[in-house]
Subunit: 225 residues, 2 copies
């Protein structure tokens, strides 16, 4: 679905880091929407001690995070904003249901994952905590979030997070489960999360979007990977 060298055609360009949850959400969303794109690997590891990006990248995204998507002549930042943009401008293969209340359930799950769990265990926060404390911290907050999420999903899910139609929520679930595995949380209490994630992992576009299938993935194991 992607090619790895930026060119001057009109394909959207995704600045992505293979291990970034937020980049992965957008890779899944672009794949599910069947939007071809070019990928520019943008390493979180090319940082100085204060975790700054290059000034050129900071110009594009002052929050110094991946992903950034260049599309339709615009430069868009933030995975949730990007997913909504492609949903609102490309009607095929919807990532949101039509019913407003069901849309609210999808967005609730998106926010549980994207604001309730992921920010507490992202790379910058764990680096700030230091290696000794970071694994325990990450496992604590992922487990706490998953306890609530399991209850939400046990009421909302079918094959996927909300019923049997794949949605934005599913784009966010897969990267968070991947991170949960990295921090070796106990999955026994999360059967619904694991069932949905297994369904998602069997989707070809989810497989293609996996960090291990990205051009910037290196087989040498990262810390906690």
């Amino acid at each position: 679905m992607f090619s790895s060298t930026a060119s001057n055609n009109n394909k959207p360009i995704l600045y992505s880091y293979c291990h970034s949850s937020c980049s992965w959400r957008v890779r899944i969303a672009l794949g599910l929407k069947k939007i071809p794109y070019e990928l520019v690997p943008t390493s979180l590891l090319k940082t100085d001690a204060s975790h700054s990006y290059t000034s050129e990248y900071t110009e594009m995204n002052p929050m110094q995070q991946v992903p950034v998507l260049k599309i339709d002549g615009h430069t868009l930042c933030d995975s949730v904003a990007i997913m909504h943009y492609i949903e609102e401008t490309r009607k095929d293969n919807p990532l949101l249901p039509q019913n407003p209340q069901v849309r609210a359930k999808v967005r609730e799950i998106v926010e549980i994952l994207c604001s309730g769990i992921q920010p507490l265990q992202n790379r910058i926060v764990l680096a700030h905590l230091g290696n000794e404390k970071s694994k325990k911290w990450a496992a604590h907050w992922i487990t706490r979030g998953f306890i609530g999420l399991e209850k939400v999903l046990s009421a909302s899910s079918g094959k996927y997070c909300v019923g049997d139609n794949i949605s934005m929520a599913d784009c966010c679930l897969v990267p968070q489960v991947y991170n949960a595995r990295r921090f070796r949380i106990n999955f026994d209490q999360f059967p619904t999360i694991m069932r949905i994630n297994a369904n998602l992992e069997s989707e070809p576009t989810v497989h293609e979007s996996h960090p291990h299938n990205q051009p910037d993935y290196q087989k040498k194991k990262l810390k906690n990977d």
Copy 2:
């Protein structure tokens, strides 16, 4: 705009805690949309040692967070999902612009505030850190987030966060600036944030929604308040 006792009429019912940023976002949004509602004060302080809510509340929101909005026969959780729901079901007084790219900018700012900053300094995380470390931690992450946000807003803002039309982003900015004041960050480097916040504070609905103007506000100062 609100009455403080739940009744059986058809007004939406907001479960809100005066000091909760997420509750405050929704109070502002309901006010800007001119949607009358009833308010049920729901104290974050009525928690046991593990910060659990009552089982009745947990049934409504397994994430054990405020706000919850009962509206149109549904129980909705999460401030961002709720703001989108009222926007999609009530067209008057829009909180999102029409242009998809400008909508993306509004949502980018919403996510900077709601996933990039607030989760790192919410009450549960600070309680987990313990009193000694929590103020420094909160100030660090708010300052870091505001450095990026200031750059984003310096390009996007007019009178409000995105141009001259008030939006969902503004609903999220005011509570975060309030928290930043509580943690005594240095505002000298954030002139755009402060300019927009001053414009917002002069809005009657923002004034009405302020924690100090809520029925559950007690004059006795909270820790860090």
